[in-house]
Point group: none
Chain length 263, copies 2
């Protein structure tokens, strides 16, 4: 079984392993995306090392020479190799070996049987955009500081201090310095500790300084620590921030149509 169109596409079902060797070479020299499904054994040696015995898996070699191997279950690949790896392929003794080398790391895959092999040139120039990230939360706070509290004025973004970075630095309505740490997920103890480290040094010169964790939720142990360290929490979800940005860009946003419960 075979389909072809000028080196842009090829597919075979239950091919012989030596035939696969030819197809792989054609795929690699055409910088096509290669898909192989078959029974293989894998070993990896590099930063770590791993082994797995024979089993049926999907191997993908992309046009940038990245390699990904998936087992029939689970969201993560069992083994992989980054873009730019050097890929070699050889057949012998009823085994087809595909090896990938990258910065001292070696991934070896040996197939004893291949069910399906195919390569194809894929076109994908679309731009990927992501919303409701921590970045969007910071942006939304600058666009609409009242979501933190009435009268809050953000001053700088990503301020560098001795102990690291402060997400947002500003002033409250009474002129007190406010340091904000933004998290898109539930804030954990570590996040409070990080904020505390920023604030504790500053409190020597400025005892009225406030520290606020801004996040959709906070773990109970983090909340305890918050109270102990005299820091605060403001609830804010990445989704509402994304909404603020998009509606503001269309000039639709007022404080009234911002449902306070969504925060």
């Amino acid at each position: 079984m075979l389909a072809e169109c000028m080196g842009r596409f090829k597919l075979e079902v239950n091919p012989s392993l030596d035939r696969c060797g030819e197809i792989i070479h054609e795929a690699l020299s055409n910088k096509a995306v290669l898909i192989i499904v078959g029974n293989c054994i894998i070993d990896y040696n590099g930063r770590a090392s791993s082994k797995i015995g024979f089993g049926e898996r999907i191997l993908i070699v992309k046009s940038d020479s990245s390699v990904i191997i998936h087992r029939p279950r689970g969201i993560k690949p069992v083994n992989w190799q980054p873009s730019g790896s050097i890929i070699k392929c050889e057949y012998g003794r009823n085994i087809l070996k595909i090896s990938s080398y990258f910065k001292g790391e070696v991934l070896n895959v040996a197939f004893k049987n291949i069910v399906l092999i195919s390569f194809m040139k894929l076109e994908d120039e679309a731009e990927f955009s992501m919303y409701a990230t921590e970045e969007d939360m910071k942006k939304a706070i600058f666009m609409n500081p009242n979501i933190i509290e009435r009268g809050f004025i953000p001053i700088t973004d990503e301020k560098h201090v001795s102990s690291g970075f402060i997400d947002i630095y500003g002033k409250d309505s009474k002129g007190n310095t406010v340091v904000i740490e933004v998290k898109k997920d539930m804030a954990l103890k570590d996040d409070v500790i990080q904020l505390y480290r920023y604030v504790e040094g500053m409190r020597k010169n400025n005892p009225s300084i406030r520290g606020i964790i801004v996040s959709p939720s906070i773990s109970s142990s983090a909340k305890h620590l918050l109270v102990k360290t005299n820091l605060e929490h403001v609830k804010l979800t990445p989704k509402i921030c994304s909404k603020i940005i998009h509606e503001a860009e269309r000039g639709k946003l007022t404080l009234d149509n911002l449902n306070i419960n969504d925060r």
Copy 2:
């Protein structure tokens, strides 16, 4: 173009989109691994949100309903959905939509063209081992018995006893018999029970016999049982075993360069 074998495998090249709908249903109801290559648009809404316009990508739905979508470049998927998601598929207006739902997260993929669709039942029961297998761990103990304790002397490997197999049998520095059970993962209650079965019979003739579980960690209930049965635990990770084997093979290993904290 079509290949089939009793619902275990199907493949079509340049199928019509409504035909794809049928194949997808067959794949999902058979819990097969589904691979689709085609031109699609994707949007995701959940913890964050993302959008991407039309482009040619590879979509994989695994037998546990995890979903992975790869662009022709890069090691990471552009979008995905974890195991256990609910997958729906519908065709209309020259568009084939595949939607995946999981804990409030939605992934929508809409194909306007499909180059290749295939599903297959994949068998992969192999155990994945990082750094070292249990076999490697035993090897490391034979190469360097001091990682168990000073003066330990391993004698036999896989000794057969009435109740099964002992991983390693040896003597400690005082001449006491030592029985070792090696586990590459956290030791559980069952592992302690297994070791206890070996040791209990031997204790009648030899009350000074010691039983040691060797593993990277031990569950708390297993630890309790260990104390009750007068057995012991020694911490040893596959990672350090891998280091021992590699360095010993190069003749570099001494007790000094073996960081005790790594065990």
